[in-house]
Symmetry: C2
Subunit: 341 residues, 2 copies
């Protein structure tokens, strides 16, 4: 494979090379890459802003993460935060810190992933920063989106008796990560072996190339459901439920037999002797939506494809509990992903 040194292009040449293929598609983007700041126009909407910092060795391992997927995921996790406000992502800025280990071709791969995500989700690249780094790869993405006035969904609006709903399945991204980590150890012990990924495509995809639930936000709008509170699940169900309960001043009860389990994830959990329920509660990185809704919306929600009701909110003094298959109450604790611990 060809290797072009970044120094041959210089900072401005590199930015131009990487960004010139990106086309502006949103009317809210007045001016994108190329000036001191991007210019956006949001006369009739609320502006949503979210940001994520991804560091090599902490958030991703380049041993098993293709750069194209990394770029895709870095964009997706930001889009997901905007959807979690009941908004639509519209613009991103991308800042990269890159060590000498990376070539122009490597950066092209990252930007190809970002470009694919942007095209699929209708988002414009409008700025960023590119810098040398002494060590490893740093990706900082900021996403700007729009929300309709009065329809933005915060974490603090859940009420006692509200339904607790989640999209898709949970724990699969975590099981995908466990599989990749296992195969990495096997490979390091014996570089001749081929990884054993047969029948595990789904959990790998959930870890390496997750999607943001644009479709769920659209379905909620079509059915005229405005959740009372919403978050995306990046740290694990327990941690996110604790945020919503704490900010809404409620407790909650969720039911083990209602938790959305994928069969590949469950088999992987069994193979690795991990509890799939623990993976669901504390695994993280599924980027599914967790939301609460008024009981009045029950009839609409049960017809929502890809959404399950897993429990309900309670008075705050009842605490946060998982109800097991035998009816036992287990207190929820946040053991979600926390890079600082």
């Amino acid at each position: 494979m060809q290797r072009t040194e970044i120094s041959t292009l210089g900072e401005f040449g590199l930015i131009k090379h990487l960004t010139e293929k990106f086309k502006i598609t949103n009317p809210s983007t007045v001016k994108g890459v190329g000036d001191d700041a991007a210019v956006l126009h949001y006369p009739d909407k609320e502006v949503l802003v979210t940001t994520d910092l991804l560091l090599e060795g902490i958030h991703f391992d380049l041993v098993y993460t293709p750069l194209k997927h990394l770029g895709y995921k870095a964009a997706i996790v930001n889009f997901s935060d905007i959807y979690a406000m009941n908004g639509q992502p519209k613009q991103i800025t991308v800042s990269l810190g890159i060590s000498q280990r990376f070539s122009v071709e490597d950066l092209e791969q990252i930007y190809e992933g970002i470009s694919t995500a942007c095209q699929l989700y209708g988002v414009d690249l409008v700025g960023g920063d590119t810098s040398a780094s002494l060590t490893g790869l740093t990706i900082s993405i900021t996403c700007i989106g729009e929300g309709a006035k009065g329809k933005i969904v915060y974490r603090n609006g859940a009420k006692t008796n509200d339904l607790i709903c989640v999209s898709g399945d949970l724990g699969s991204a975590y099981m995908g990560l466990q599989l990749l980590e296992r195969e990495k150890i096997v490979f390091e012990a014996d570089p001749g072996t081929q990884p054993d990924f047969e029948g595990k495509d789904y959990i790998l995809q959930r870890q390496l190339k997750p999607e943001a639930r644009k479709d769920i936000i659209q379905k909620l709008a079509e059915k005229e459901i405005i959740p009372t509170a919403m978050m995306d699940i990046s740290d694990g169900l327990s941690s996110e439920l604790m945020h919503i309960c704490s900010q809404s001043n409620t407790g909650c009860r969720i039911y083990e037999d209602k938790l959305p389990i994928n069969i590949q994830a469950a088999m992987m959990a069994e193979e690795l002797n991990i509890s799939i329920v623990t993976a669901i509660l504390n695994g993280g990185e599924d980027y599914e939506l967790l939301f609460t809704a008024s009981l009045e919306d029950y009839e609409k929600i049960v017809t929502l494809e890809g959404v399950g009701i897993i429990g309900h909110m309670t008075k705050p003094e009842l605490g946060l509990h998982l109800i097991g298959r035998e009816g036992e109450e287990i207190e929820l604790r946040a053991q979600g992903w926390n890079s600082l611990k």
Copy 2:
């Protein structure tokens, strides 16, 4: 000095601890820190977005950079980009990647600097991300601001014969950096020595605690001057002039005897045997404003305190030149700060 390990607070505890003192002051900030995204309201303005990534060892050296100043500067450089669009900064997000070397008290210092800058410039902290890092300190700041429709100033609007203007003086931040680097080498050779900073306070301040030229933007508005093109000078005068000329399709002539020199910077340049003109052209980090204005605004501009006219734009085929004291023509080249070279 007390040292509190970051792990004792955890990710969410740390964010809360660092951000709870920040108060929201702008009506455009609907919701700040604490949800998936911040919510902003810009019904009558254009939204400006800029972002900067600062990496330890590349953009700053903690041997001589106090953390409080680092936080201040990291915020200021982003504000400066918004002013350079003829806008007003209103919100920032702050993402930090921090290695185990840093304590809670260290982060408090960084945030104190950010807070001081925010208060002074009227900017709200509305979000961010905090993560462990394997190596060193990473700071990624995104700044959002507002600009009046029709009054935003881009890099591409300069015309032949427009005046070229700069605020303040140039080269001082670079001379401050050279001084700090010299004293670092002296200190490393003999840790017993005290640095010799007497009479050098101005150039040190220009390097360690620069300001963004909010005052100049205000004066331009008061005098009803809308520059035809504008940038802030972060990479050096030559590099920025090349951006404006290239995007505006013009050439330029600037005059050596019009370049704004500070006496401390000039003395330091002499002491270190560096040409002060080279420092001005290629030094960078002054965060002064470079703008072009129509000849019709000449009378207004000459009365603008803190702004000097250094030359004029020409037809593109005449190229970019510095006219020396003896009338000699020197072609301008970009040797600005470029971390990727």
